[in-house]
Symmetry: C2
């Protein structure tokens, strides 16, 4: 897929670079087509999440895009989220909706299959598209109307076990963001429409964020700023699944207002520290739901004494497409994007300075691939300068330049902007050298 | 995810076994939730297709679920497929539809990015959900309203190159079905609503199929039986993307009628052979589209002389969820499902006869996994007989039984029903032995 051009636009943001570099295209307001480069990033995030989910014994499934109004009425949530639902009727006039999140369907599914406490705990997740008819889609993947979420649902017999699960999964979420070397603030949050007892938000500290987080200057304890959340809730614009809460303009106002109020406020946790306010971009959200959904949807198991006991649930979401947009914003500079190694569409780009790709160059490619490196060879019929600027724009962690020195003496130039490396290496030493650079990223 | 039960139902079909074995659940008529076992099968098919698509230089992308009525009006297809579209309006009253297929969106996307003959050929594919509001969803995944398709679109400068591409991809499709060891009939077909000049259908010969294929007794040339297709078309029930054409009851009638008519008919190809009629289940469809979409949607490139030239397109679809349903039907017997090795949710199931899983058993599991085998250890708290019947029901190609002989003398029993193997092997020899069995499947 050809990129859209090499000339940078004045004041172009990360989203603009994603478009220009050919990661995605906008089809309609807030609706995007994921092009091959963008899909590679998305699949890398998915696989990384698969590993983390496997480590907690969660099984992956894939629920339908559709849910029914009937089910959302049972959980008493239909009217709360109605303005943002995409709704439709099928040819038999069943009232369907495109799921913005899957608590209802997941609870109903597990209720139809789990009948004994012996089957617990159960941990199920998926990585699928979700839908939200935003009033004002903006910032590309940061607030889109169709988005990709990794959502995990946990089912435990009692509250104590469910809280243990909650802490365990929160730690796994932090580990996932650490894999990507992203500085994430974990903030206490209001459970909002999800119901349930407590909840945390995982924020990337960034000026484009529409949330405000209050961080204690002494103990570091972070709290999602409730003034902003409450105001957003009033407007029916409350996030329920890791999408943005509040509106940007509004959040900015809150920001100033909050500064005035909270400069004097003390930390709830240590009771001594004053609070620093940061703009946050929400990437993930965790909720201990308790029996908020299991009771109305009749997800219970028999226990030794008394009536059947409702199962204690948790739900956990990471915004996959939003994460891609957020990393693009956070790491873009004047030259282009910069991907963490584990999210990069390719780890290594080989850029020949002439249009010919002789067999020795293919052997070199094979040698890098045989090292387990995810490498791409830019054999497009374009000028060398264009290709180099395109590689900078796309943000590959390592670029191997095969120029005159390669043709004359089999010497390659290895560039890694994030480590400040620009070194000439003999081609036989290249695989080992690049492997070492990549593994230190 | 617990299975639904071990007791077989009288006359249960493949779909019934998929439900009972816990591969999927029906959410609503024609709408299914893919459970972990089913999703594993789907992902294996996806990865196999990724390899085949890579071999023809096709890049994977992921278009939105949404398309617009406006675009389908431009291609003049909206009214033809209208009865089967899921339609909706967003909050700004844009008229959207859930795409049943992606020719329009793909053509519009490529028109926005390809501006020179130098960028051609382009080959793009995706594996995504598609939607079709069937009048009568039935046979589970064989005719569902939400389904998974692998769809490939090709863009060539001229007809000759596009026809070459067509033949190349047809061969790749045949190779894909050969990977799965599925006997597939490739039949000449009518291009129908897709427009374009010619087309082939890939059928699995099976009594549950709703199509009829006429096969020459002499040269083997196969033709989709047009009486059935024409009658189905009249009813507005024409398939455009690998979903079933015609209605089953009707196809049966056609069958008898066709037998009368075609017993005398001669093969179009060799002009001598008489025709044998077979019931077919359509798994894939290929179309040479020519300029059917590139002209109305203005996908053209400048050429040396004269006006811009419209690009010649092809489109190709494999019904991924339908394939899963079809293989379940084709291969189920009284004991359960039988997956081709490359589609099996796991290649090897280890079934211990006692509930304990000692460390030596985990080491054995690790040794099998280290061989590159996709293995599962059934450590559920269930009786041995239940687990064995569950393994039969789920259709794992190889089952390793760890019973008394294993506890006493480290001997394992290896079962492979499709090769008729039931052999006792020392545990240290197990990985090599199972590897050999699996590689001959």
């Amino acid at each position: 897929m050809p990129t859209a051009g090499i000339a940078a636009t004045e004041g172009e943001d990360g989203h603009g670079k994603l478009i220009r570099a050919g990661f995605l295209r906008q089809a309609q307001s807030g609706i995007f087509q994921m092009l091959p480069l963008g899909l590679r990033v998305q699949q890398k995030v998915e696989r990384l999440l698969d590993k983390r989910m496997q480590s907690i014994g969660a099984s992956r499934l894939s629920l339908s895009t559709f849910s029914t109004e009937e089910l959302w009425q049972k959980s008493n949530r239909l009217h709360k989220v109605a303005p943002e639902l995409f709704r439709l009727q099928d040819r038999k006039n069943t009232r369907l909706l495109l799921s913005p999140t899957h608590e209802e369907e997941m609870t109903a599914l597990v209720a139809s299959t789990v009948h004994s406490y012996k089957d617990l705990p159960v941990r199920l997740y998926q990585t699928t598209r979700k839908y939200r008819d935003e009033m004002r889609p903006r910032h590309g993947l940061l607030r889109s109307r169709e988005f990709v979420m990794n959502d995990l649902y946990t089912f435990d017999l009692c509250q104590e076990a469910a809280i243990d699960t909650y802490h365990h999964i929160s730690a796994v979420y932090s580990a996932f963001f650490a894999d990507l070397k992203l500085p994430v603030l974990v903030a206490e949050a209001n459970a909002g429409h999800m119901g349930g007892n407590y909840s945390h938000e995982f924020h990337l500290s960034h000026s484009v964020g529409s949330d405000v987080v209050a961080v204690c200057r002494v103990c570091g304890h972070a709290v999602a700023y409730e003034g902003a959340a409450a105001a957003a809730q009033q407007q029916g614009d409350e996030g329920q699944d890791g999408q943005a809460k509040g509106q940007d303009g509004q959040a900015k106002g809150q920001d100033d207002q909050a500064k005035g109020q909270d400069d004097q406020a003390k930390c709830r946790q240590c009771k001594t520290g004053s609070l620093r306010l940061e703009r946050g971009l929400e990437l993930a959200h965790t909720f201990y739901l308790g029996t908020r959904y299991s009771e109305p949807l009749d997800l219970c198991v028999p226990v030794a004494s008394g009536p059947d006991s409702p199962i204690h649930m948790g739900c956990y979401g990471i915004g996959v497409s939003r994460l891609i947009g957020a990393v693009a914003e956070l790491k873009a500079d004047h030259r282009g994007l910069h991907w963490p190694r584990l999210m990069a569409p390719f780890e290594v780009a080989m850029v020949p300075s002439s249009p010919q790709v002789p067999p020795e160059m293919l052997s070199l490619y094979d040698a890098l691939a045989a090292q387990g490196l995810d490498v791409v060879l830019d054999d497009r019929d374009k000028r060398f300068g264009w290709k180099m600027r395109d590689a900078d724009l796309a943000g590959y962690p390592v670029v191997v330049v095969l120029g005159q020195a390669w043709r004359d003496d089999s010497m390659c130039e290895v560039q890694c902007s994030s480590l400040g490396i620009n070194q000439t290496v003999a081609s036989q030493a290249l695989p080992a050298f690049v492997g070492k650079v990549i593994s230190s990223l």
